[in-house]
């Protein structure tokens, strides 16, 4: 990018385990309350926004272009256009990148960019024969035809079709792709357990210090207590507990366990973007600036290595060494995968210290609501850089289907 783009501010909801606190909240409802809160907190009139971009993977069947639904429900006027984007697990980052690109090219003035996922609401569908049955039934005219159609009913129609969790390109589960990397980069079970333990420890520490409260809004649920905090972080996690877990993806000879995988979580996050000049004109003090981004494609069966090559490409575009960056966020889809990325990056740039990586823990503790994670990483990173008085950081994610995405940000 030729100019940096201001990230004025950002917020997120607490991240909660799927089928948990948000089990009755649809993705659009979860994100809409966040958007409303974000608009309220900023001295920008709703009609001044020129676009709303939302990253989302599991499109809710009741709300196609969920971005538009979120935008209106969240309080942006009808006149503000909205779009939903997907780059699978990096959709929340893609939304921010697309927003930044449009602002950089002066195509937009102020953009609300974010991401949301309700992993609870994975659509469960009916089979093709059952669909045909229902279609014919609804079209049946007269009682005779209706009865005839009813007789075509089969009990198998009641069997739901659960979506494939395997990658359509390599046929593996994401966990199996992590197993591949564990073998290729020789990341042992013990290293994975240690990493996961550390992620939980760092996240617990951050939670105790109230760091996540600074970036989150409370979510209200009728008849229940308000959700104030992430609920996946295990304050009392011990290393022995992790050691005892059985591999889940490769039960035969695997290394990846539930404890070393990201949690399946619901959540939303959003940022407001504008040009640096616009921020100055409005006397706003941006949270951070987005300076560059990079995307790469990799072998789908080794999708977890994506961030390593995305970061390499990012560094090349910026002509900077990795050592120029003070903090690195590598989304923790799996401990094995993050450690493989660290090993890959260490090949060229010299040892990348884990002290710089995911300093407040990651998705293993906090959770990974697909569409929201990319936005949260930028938000969490920006806040931490500011807190520590540091300058530059990189946020990156691996992407199911074999991609990697990374952005560079700086704070003043």
């Amino acid at each position: 990018m030729k100019r940096r783009v201001a990230i004025v501010d950002g917020l997120r909801t607490p991240f909660c385990k799927a089928m948990g606190a948000y089990r009755h909240l649809q993705a659009d409802d979860l994100a809409a309350s966040l958007v409303r809160e974000l608009i309220e907190r900023l001295p920008i009139r709703p009609e001044e926004y020129t676009e709303c971009i939302i990253g989302n993977v599991i499109s809710p069947p009741h709300a196609y272009n969920v971005g538009r639904v979120i935008s209106i429900k969240g309080g942006l006027p009808d006149s503000v256009p909205a779009i939903t984007v997907s780059r699978n697990c990096a959709s929340g980052m893609e939304a921010v990148v697309q927003g930044a690109e449009r602002i950089e090219r002066d195509q937009d003035a102020i953009i609300l960019a974010g991401g949301v996922e309700s992993m609870t609401h994975i659509p469960i569908t009916i089979s093709e024969p059952a669909r045909d049955f229902l279609m014919k039934l609804s079209k049946a005219k007269g009682i005779g035809e209706l009865l005839k159609q009813l007789f075509a009913f089969r009990f198998s129609f009641l069997k739901p079709v659960v979506p494939e969790i395997n990658d359509p390109l390599c046929g593996l589960t994401m966990g199996e792709t992590a197993e591949n990397l564990a073998r290729e980069y020789h990341v042992t079970r013990k290293e994975q357990d240690q990493f996961a333990f550390e992620s939980q420890r760092r996240a617990s520490e951050a939670k105790k210090r109230g760091l996540f409260r600074e970036e989150s809004i409370p979510v209200l649920i009728p008849g229940k207590e308000a959700v104030l905090e992430d609920d996946g972080i295990r304050q009392d996690q011990t290393f022995e507990q992790l050691e005892k877990l059985k591999p889940v993806f490769d039960r035969f000879a695997g290394t990846v366990t539930a404890g070393t995988s990201s949690q399946v979580t619901d959540g939303a996050a959003a940022l407001v973007l504008m040009s640096e000049e616009e921020a100055k004109r409005r006397s706003l003090k941006p949270l951070a600036y987005l300076t560059e981004h990079a995307e790469v494609g990799v072998d789908p069966s080794r999708m977890g290595i994506g961030p390593a090559f995305a970061i390499k490409k990012l560094l090349k575009k910026m002509n900077r060494p990795l050592s120029d960056f003070d903090l690195i966020e590598i989304n923790e889809a799996f401990a094995a995968q993050v450690l493989a990325v660290v090993k890959e990056l260490s090949k060229e740039s010299g040892e990348l210290s884990l002290e710089k990586v995911n300093v407040n823990g990651g998705a293993i503790a906090i959770g990974h609501p697909l569409g929201a994670s990319g936005t949260r990483l930028i938000l969490t990173l920006a806040k931490e850089l500011k807190r520590r008085g540091l300058k530059r950081g990189i946020a990156s994610l691996c992407i199911g289907g074999g991609q990697g995405q990374a952005v560079a940000i700086e704070v003043e």
């Binding site: 494939e164 395997n166 359509p168 390109l169 046929g171 564990a182 073998r183 290729e184 020789h186 042992t188 079970r189 490769d250 035969f252 000879a253 695997g254 290394t255």
Partner: protein
């Protein structure tokens, strides 16, 4: 040089097998003896690990070439069998652990079975099995005893009779393995996981209780196994039957007596039931030789063009897509392409069912296939195979069309089964990039491909074609240019002879029966119907034109084709097909016959002799390089009975002189024996 290295650290001894100057570990008398010496040195230990120094390979079995030699001699056989038993018995008395991180077959598995524990890994190269019966012998180092005792009679017997290889996962599941580790972390985890090894209590399910733990169940189990085996071998292969009898006889014995019985059976049957082993081992090496042939130079083909979406074209397109190539398939109109596409989809459904592939995998493979109705679109394809109908003029037009647009490096091949390359390439601008690639029908079942070298075919073009076949999982047989190449010359001349015999007076039922009794997989008329009578007729015309009187076929097929009987595909050929039933076509039976009669032996003799003579001519003309290649080609291409070791091996066995004498006795120009046979 030593093959085994024994080390010890604390109470854990490690014995590593690394056969010098070999890619894989195999048992030779020397390596077996050395193992025994090393075992004798083992002291006070808590575990003895048996490991391999070869990547992806534990032990591939006994050295077949050496073993074949021993089989010829009673004393040598006794020696090697007894040594194996003695060594493995020693192993079984130690706290031994086989660490299987690769191929573990035959004697290799028998060693592992003798160990107290077996560890397998997730290495995809882990293949565990006892292939002996498919080579005409049976596991003779304790395999028939220790395997069923370990994994149960039903599973063990089935593994021994089928020779089927299993992976680590399955091995763990059936109780063959005691522990699984990740191959990549073997060095990290091996020693620390030894403490998890415990003699497991055998847990057998309800099925085993019913079928294995009582005499009536066992009787049932073995009688089902015997029936299924008979269906498969048709009585031509005694080795698995001997193994089955042995397992049944020893099922209730203690291990020691069972092992003794195994040795006794092996020695008793060496010259009887196991006498086919040399033929099957010879054939194994003949096919391996083709599979592993090296080429001077080649280019990797990533994208394949296929002209024609008929039976052969769609078959080739399917195969290429299945094996990971991208494909562009063309035909003259969308109706034809649509039919071919449907056929491809069916082949994918079939393989999905057989290999239990998920729908999504098949979906991805289907997407590798593109289609077009022009032969001028092969811009991405570095190799184009023509699989149009057997029409010389049409083929010439196609090649001209292809040459218009493709790059200079693109290789053009023809799937023609009978036309000479030199005829087809007449109008080509670059005949040096032209090669024959004769797949057999049906492409998804027939393992052989004849790779035809034309007089101007460049070495790299030929090499690329050979490597492409290997990539597609086929067995390439390189032949020089002639009409019908090798396989169809053999096929045609036998068919011609059988039709002549029909004409002389032999009833078709007798011809079918005689041919089946020789061990052919199907009778000649059944086969012709499957190939298609129209296709066969075309081949016969080409062959007759090229080879004259000896390939002159009675016009029976032409006349049947005229009545619309095109073979099984039209429901009518030599037979009439109604559902699963078939009976001879009355139009065929009505054709005039003489009144001569022949015995089954004479039918076999005459039909085999003409084939042997034709193969000898092909050898003389240097169409095919060696007798062993004819052997492989005759078995894989037209189903010559494998237990006979191949056509030329059979000829050698009955003696060239006998064949010459019998041919000369017919005293007719079409039976003129070749010089190759006369020279012996």
């Amino acid at each position: 040089m030593s093959a085994w290295t024994l080390t010890q650290e604390g109470k854990i001894a490690r014995l590593k097998f690394d056969l010098p100057d070999a890619k894989v570990n195999t048992f030779t008398p020397e390596s077996l003896q050395e193992l025994e010496e090393k075992l004798d040195q083992v002291g006070d230990i808590s575990f003895l690990l048996i490991e391999s120094g070869k990547k992806d390979s534990f032990i591939a079995g006994a050295d077949l070439k050496r073993f074949e030699e021993f089989l010829k001699d009673e004393k040598a056989t006794k020696e090697i069998i007894e040594t194996g038993h003695r060594v493995f018995n020693k192993l079984s008395r130690l706290p031994s652990v086989a660490v299987i991180d690769g191929v573990c077959l035959g004697g290799g598995l028998e060693l592992a079975l003798a160990c107290r524990f077996r560890i397998v890994t997730d290495n995809p190269k882990v293949k565990i099995g006892l292939p002996e019966t498919s080579l005409g012998i049976f596991p003779g180092w304790g395999g028939t005893q220790r395997l069923p005792r370990l994994v149960g009679l039903e599973t063990g017997t089935s593994m021994i009779l089928s020779g089927k290889q299993i992976d680590g996962k399955r091995a763990l599941k059936i109780g063959l393995a005691d522990l699984a580790l990740a191959s990549a972390f073997l060095d990290d985890d091996l020693l620390s996981s030894l403490s998890k090894l415990k003699t497991r209590k055998k847990r057998r399910g309800f099925r085993a209780l019913f079928l294995e733990s009582n005499p009536i169940g066992r009787k049932l189990l073995f009688s089902i196994a015997r029936k299924e085996l008979k269906k498969k071998t048709k009585g031509f292969y005694p080795a698995p039957e001997i193994a089955l009898d042995l397992i049944e006889r020893t099922a209730t014995m203690d291990l020691e007596s069972g092992l003794k019985e195994e040795i006794a059976t092996f020695l008793r049957e060496r010259t009887k039931g196991l006498s086919l082993a040399p033929n099957l081992i010879h054939l194994f090496f003949a096919v391996e030789h083709l599979k592993k042939q090296k080429v001077v130079s080649y280019k990797k083909v990533k994208s394949l063009g296929v002209v024609g979406s008929g039976l052969m074209g769609s078959g080739i397109a399917w195969l290429a897509a299945y094996k990971g190539l991208s494909v562009l398939m063309t035909d003259i109109n969308w109706e034809a392409i649509s039919r071919g596409f449907t056929e491809i989809s069916k082949m994918f459904q079939e393989v999905a069912k057989r290999k239990r592939l998920p729908h999504s995998a098949i979906n991805l493979m289907m997407h590798r296939i593109g289609t077009a109705i022009s032969n001028r679109e092969f811009l991405q394809e570095s190799f184009v195979v023509e699989a149009a109908t057997e029409n010389l003029d049409l083929k010439k037009v196609i090649f001209k069309d292809i040459e218009e647009t493709v790059s200079k490096e693109t290789i053009i091949a023809s799937n023609s089964s009978s036309l000479r390359l030199s005829q087809m390439s007449e109008g080509m601008r670059h005949p040096e990039r032209f090669v024959g690639l004769h797949f057999f029908n049906p492409v998804n079942r027939m393992p052989l491909v004849e790779v035809v070298r034309g007089s101007s075919t460049k070495e790299e073009v030929l090499g690329t074609a050979v490597e492409l076949c290997k990539e597609l999982g086929k067995v390439p047989l390189v032949v020089n240019d002639c009409s019908g190449f090798l396989v169809n010359r053999l096929f045609a001349i036998q068919a011609v002879e059988l039709l002549r015999l029909y004409e002389k007076g032999v009833k078709p039922e007798q011809l079918e029966k005689a041919i089946l009794s020789f061990g052919w997989p199907m009778g000649p008329f059944t086969l012709a119907d499957q190939v298609g009578l129209d296709t066969s007729a075309k081949v016969f015309h080409v062959m007759q034109e090229a080879y004259g009187i000896r390939m002159k076929a009675p016009d029976i097929i032409d006349r049947l084709v005229k009545t619309g009987a095109l073979g099984k595909k039209s429901g009518r050929g030599f037979f009439i097909y109604r559902g699963k039933e078939k009976r001879f076509n009355p139009d065929f039976l009505a054709m005039p016959q003489g009144h001569e009669s022949f015995t089954d032996e004479e039918i076999i003799q005459r039909s085999s002799n003409v084939m042997i003579n034709e193969a000898a001519r092909a050898l003389e003309e240097k169409i095919v390089a060696s007798e062993s290649e004819v052997d492989a080609g005759s078995v894989l291409g037209i189903g010559f009975p494998p237990f006979r070791g191949g056509l030329m091996r059979y000829a050698r066995e009955i003696g060239f002189q006998r064949v010459v004498k019998e041919l000369e006795a017919l005293s007719s120009p079409e039976y003129e024996p070749s010089d190759y046979l006369k020279k012996g």
